[in-house]
């Protein structure tokens, strides 16, 4: 019948049928069709369609729409109430499992919450800048004489030239620490009081046009456009001036005694930025004009603002032409090449680890590792829940069957399980919030970040995630259990379904795989950390004190001070130098003479005195060291390390080989002569390889006073030295630290990772084992009778024990077989960030694996032994 005559538009009709009340549907549909056909005949298809649309629209009214008053509405509240009641009773009935589950899940939840907070914080860097995606930082990658290095900063004329050359660059700003590129600590003096700030930078007047920090006082365009002006953060201004008006006041930097006029105040910058600043000093006239024109060396951080975010690639394309125009000639001279690095502001914190970063940046790998572990922690805990509810399912078959007999539908029973899971999840959520509250302080100190734990949106997101996960986990048991066969359930035949048994086993393997991976990886991290902090660096890093002389009074008397300190009891050796191990070194381009030919090489350099070699403990492998007081050495001598010797091609002996420096006024060539070669030593982090190092002789000068102690009498020596130093009344007190702890700080990321990994791996194994215990005690309860009979028939304790252990052991071993290669893969990836790696030996690994097995089996021993020793009469007498 449908085929006769035209049909109204199908889609509209379906929409109508969807919203129309069921009782009316067929009649109105008939009316509509009849009307439509009539109209098609009278008015034509087009108009009929139009009328039809109007009709359908007008039918969308309360009397017609499906949910009209006349439908039967049930009140499911009572049912839910019953679900909750039964849920509570069930949880209470199985107190033991509930506690185990609850404990595991809430610990899992709370730690993943903390991890989530941390990860969220790490990814929130720079977010407070409104137009963060417009801002890029310039960097350069040098290849000079085969020496490659990537800098987070660029030569000074680059920023201005960029703005001039590229229309895409709206604005640039150059930024540098107040006391050298990455040293942004300074003492400010106002009204005879000193204020230490660690976030003082020198920047172009365009600074606030690139970074959209709001100015509270002053105008963006004018605050920094005069020399000797300074803009302060609200916080710093308050500290220095209190309630007074800071504008127009003068403050002084103590180090170089320059005075600056306060011209503005900006809103405090949050901590989650790679470049936190408390004060900005005008770049104008701050440096000699000449060095602002150098295309090589004298770097500053340079940020540019693009017209639109997508233009970075175009800039990269245009760069080669720019390089030819401005830079090529300078770099060809030194046999080098400079490539552009453009870093989006947002990427700097987690992805950038270039030379001379303004601050230590975050570590993406570490963050991702934590995220993964946090995620798995919850998964493992949820798996516990899933496993236990599957195990318990056989017990509940009777209940479900009775419900079904009374008339419950499948969805009713599923609903019951969903409600139960949700109830449990809610409980776990509450407990986890309490746990978070308890461990929060510890967490903060470990992670070194400052985030609000109970920011509503965090808790909300976390809650949603938790309940989402709970819902997901409740699906499987509710589907399985609602499908229970009535008769089977009522008869009480508790045949365990094979599928669910297999699933349980797989879940256990999954859990143990994850926790084994985490534990093994923790082991690798710890091992590597141990390796890098204890590796022989080529010098003796223990018992070496460093005093940093910043004050001009102290700097002038460096040589004298050194000699005085040398006389102290407990001091073995002292040295005055411009550089020390453990900090980034500057690069230099050397013109190396080899068999009459000159070629350029890049090299790191240090300026040291004659005692450096002895104090630091370098081993001389060729030639001699600098001689005290030798003017010739100070003028023309250098020492190099073995790597430099090899790189420069002086394999046949470096002594007497020369470096060309330039020509004197008479046109005669000037040379530096190599007098000695010292054994390679790792100057910085073991992430990087040893690079060529050249030592220059700088007698009785330097801002680093190195003191080698003869024994562990550190405190007395420090006290004496400090006393000595304070006799000169320095304005800036000298800082001191142990070189060893400073070197250890190079592995801050790793040690933080290692610490948190230790916690987390302990948690994963605890939660996994807990789940296992629950599962086991359950299967024991089910098999008690069987054990009783076995014992009556003569089974020994050991064979009963084996009965249970055999199963478990297989599962754990399978998990380990999977975990070992996966861990190997992950570990290799992680270790690749180190130039010097150490992978734990097979034997060590085996010990860890065996320990995991023993721990898991040991925890269960109590239960198994109890059942093995049980009096069989007790269980059999029931029947």
């Amino acid at each position: 019948m449908e085929g006769q005559g035209p049909q109204p538009p199908r889609l509209l009709m379906r929409i109508f049928l969807w919203f129309c009340h069921e009782e009316l549907r067929k009649y109105i549909e008939g009316d509509l069709i009849e009307l439509y056909r009539e109209r098609v005949e009278m008015l034509g298809r087009f108009k009929a369609n139009g009328r039809f649309i109007i009709d359908v629209c007008l039918l969308f009214r309360p009397g017609i729409i499906g949910f009209s008053k006349n439908t039967y509405t049930s009140n499911p509240f009572g049912m839910y109430k019953n679900h909750v009641k039964v849920g509570v009773r069930n949880l209470w009935k199985d107190r033991f499992y509930t506690t185990i589950n609850l404990f595991g899940l809430s610990i899992g939840l709370s730690f993943s919450y903390l991890v989530l907070l941390l990860v969220n914080y790490e990814f929130s860097f720079e977010n407070f800048y409104e137009e963060k995606d417009h801002i890029y930082r310039l960097g350069v990658h040098y290849n000079i004489g085969g020496q490659e290095d990537s800098y987070s900063n660029v030569p000074r004329p680059m920023g201005p030239a960029f703005k001039e050359e590229f229309p895409e660059v709206v604005e640039y700003t150059r930024v540098a620490g107040v006391n050298g590129l990455s040293t942004h600590t300074s003492n400010l003096k106002y009204d005879e009081q000193y204020f230490l700030s660690e976030k003082i930078f020198v920047a172009d007047s365009s600074f606030f046009n690139v970074f959209d920090t709001r100015l509270i006082r002053g105008e963006k365009s004018t605050v920094l456009n005069r020399p000797y002006t300074i803009v302060l953060s609200e916080r710093l201004a308050k500290t220095i001036f209190g309630e007074d008006d800071p504008i127009g006041q003068e403050i002084e930097t103590v180090e170089d005694e320059r005075k600056f006029e306060v011209t503005g105040i900006f809103e405090d910058v949050p901590a989650n930025t790679h470049l936190p600043y408390d004060a900005i000093i005008s770049f104008y006239n701050y440096y000699d004009d000449e060095i602002n024109t150098f295309w090589y060396g004298r770097h500053v951080y340079t940020y540019i603002r693009l017209q639109s975010p997508g233009q970075a690639e175009r800039l990269m394309e245009k760069y080669p032409a720019f390089y030819e125009k401005y830079m090529a000639s300078d770099y060809e001279e030194v046999n080098g090449k400079a490539d552009l690095i453009l870093q989006p502001l947002k990427d700097i914190h987690l992805k950038s680890d270039l030379t001379w970063e303004a601050n230590k940046n975050g570590n993406l790998t570490g963050v991702l590792i934590l995220l993964a572990i946090g995620f798995f922690l919850v998964v493992i805990a949820e798996v516990n829940y899933l496993n236990l509810s599957l195990a318990r399912s056989s017990l509940r078959k009777k209940e479900i069957s009775v419900r079904k007999v009374i008339g419950a539908t499948k969805s009713n029973i599923s609903g019951q399980f969903v409600v139960e899971t949700m109830l449990f999840t809610a409980l776990a959520f509450c407990v986890s919030v309490v746990i978070v509250r308890l461990v929060y302080a510890e967490f903060l100190s470990l992670s070194g970040v400052d985030v609000l734990p109970f920011a509503t949106e965090h808790v909300l997101i976390f809650g949603l995630l938790t309940f989402g996960l709970g819902l997901l986990v409740s699906i499987y048991p509710s589907v399985i259990l609602s499908g229970v066969r009535l008769v089977e359930g009522l008869k009480g035949r508790s045949k365990k379904s094979r599928a669910s048994g297999r699933l349980q086993r797989m879940l256990v393997i999954f859990q143990f795989t994850i926790s084994t991976i985490v534990i093994l990886f923790t082991f690798v991290v710890k091992n590597q950390l141990d390796y890098v902090t204890h590796k022989d660096l080529g010098f003796d890093k223990e018992n070496l004190l460093v005093f940093e002389l910043e004050d001009s009074v102290l700097l002038k008397r460096g040589g004298l001070l050194r000699e005085q300190i040398q006389e102290l009891a407990g001091v073995k050796a002292t040295s005055l130098a411009y550089n020390r191990p453990g900090v980034d070194l500057n690069h230099l381009i050397l013109n190396v003479e080899n068999e009459g030919e000159i070629s350029s090489f890049g090299s790191q350099f240090m300026g040291v005195d004659h005692a450096f070699q002895n104090t630091v403990g370098l081993e001389l492998v060729e030639g001699r060291a600098f001689i005290k007081g030798s003017e010739a050495d100070a003028e023309v001598a250098v020492m190099i390390n073995e790597t430099a010797k090899a790189k420069f091609g002086w394999q046949d002996g470096a002594e007497g080989k020369r470096l060309f420096v330039g020509r004197d006024e008479n046109g005669n060539p000037d040379y530096l002569t190599t007098i000695g070669v010292f054994k390679d030593f790792n100057i910085g982090s073991l992430h990087s390889d040893i690079e060529p190092i050249v030592l220059f002789f700088v007698p009785s000068e330097g801002d680093q006073l190195l003191v080698r102690l003869s024994s562990d009498n550190q405190e007395t020596v420090v006290a004496q030295v400090n006393q000595m130093l304070s006799d000169y009344n320095p304005k800036i007190p000298a800082k001191h630290h142990l070189l060893e702890s400073e070197l250890d700080r190079l592995y801050q990321d790793e040690s933080r990772l290692s610490k948190s990994m230790t916690y987390l791996s302990a948690l994963t194994i605890i939660i996994s084992v807990l789940g296992f215990v629950g599962l086991l005690s359950f299967s024991i309860a089910q098999r008690e009778k069987e054990i009783g009979i076995r014992k009556v028939l003569g089974a020994r304790v050991s064979s009963v024990t084996m009965l249970f252990y055999k199963d478990l052991l297989v599962l754990i071993l399978i998990a380990q077989v999977i975990a070992v290669p996966v861990n190997y893969f992950i570990s290799q990836k992680w270790l690749n960030s180190f130039q010097y790696q150490s992978f734990p030996g097979l034997f060590d690994f085996a010990i860890v694996l065996v320990a995991i097995v023993l721990l898991s089996l040991g925890t269960m021993a109590f239960q198994i032994v109890r059942v093995a020793f049980m009096n069989p009469a007790k269980v059999i007498k029931d029947d």
Binding site: E2, G5, Y27, G30, D31, E34, L35, G63, I64
Partner: protein
């Protein structure tokens, strides 16, 4: 007793159902009203009114046969119930009473000017 107030459109619909005695279903009622009142009636408005009237008990319905022009969908035929008849009469009576109550002079518009 419940109020037997009829709305204007409801009254029209009831009357149309009465006129079409035995043949009153959605489309025929719609056409009847459109023809007599020369105004457009939307399916939605009509169906809503019919439904309301039925739930008030003024109309009762029976399911008719499905015909080819309706693609086999059944018709719903309406007839007036006793209650509906009362309501219609009440409506007419109140009107008439009100008509009667108008003094003749009020309608004698010529004399007033």
């Amino acid at each position: 007793m419940k109020r037997t107030q009829l709305g204007e459109f409801e009254e029209v619909v009831m009357l149309a159902v009465g006129i079409l005695f035995g043949e009153a279903y959605g489309i025929s009622i719609k056409k009847e009203i459109e023809a007599r009142l020369s105004r457009n009636v939307s399916v939605g408005a009509l169906q809503t009114a019919l439904k309301r009237l039925e739930s008030k008990g003024y109309l009762k319905s029976t399911e008719g046969e499905g015909t080819p022009e309706r693609a086999g969908r059944p018709r719903k035929y309406f007839t007036i119930t006793m209650h509906g008849k009362n309501a219609l009469e009440a409506a007419r009576d109140t009107r008439n009473a009100m008509w009667d109550a108008i003094p003749p002079v009020a309608l004698d518009l010529k004399t007033q000017d």
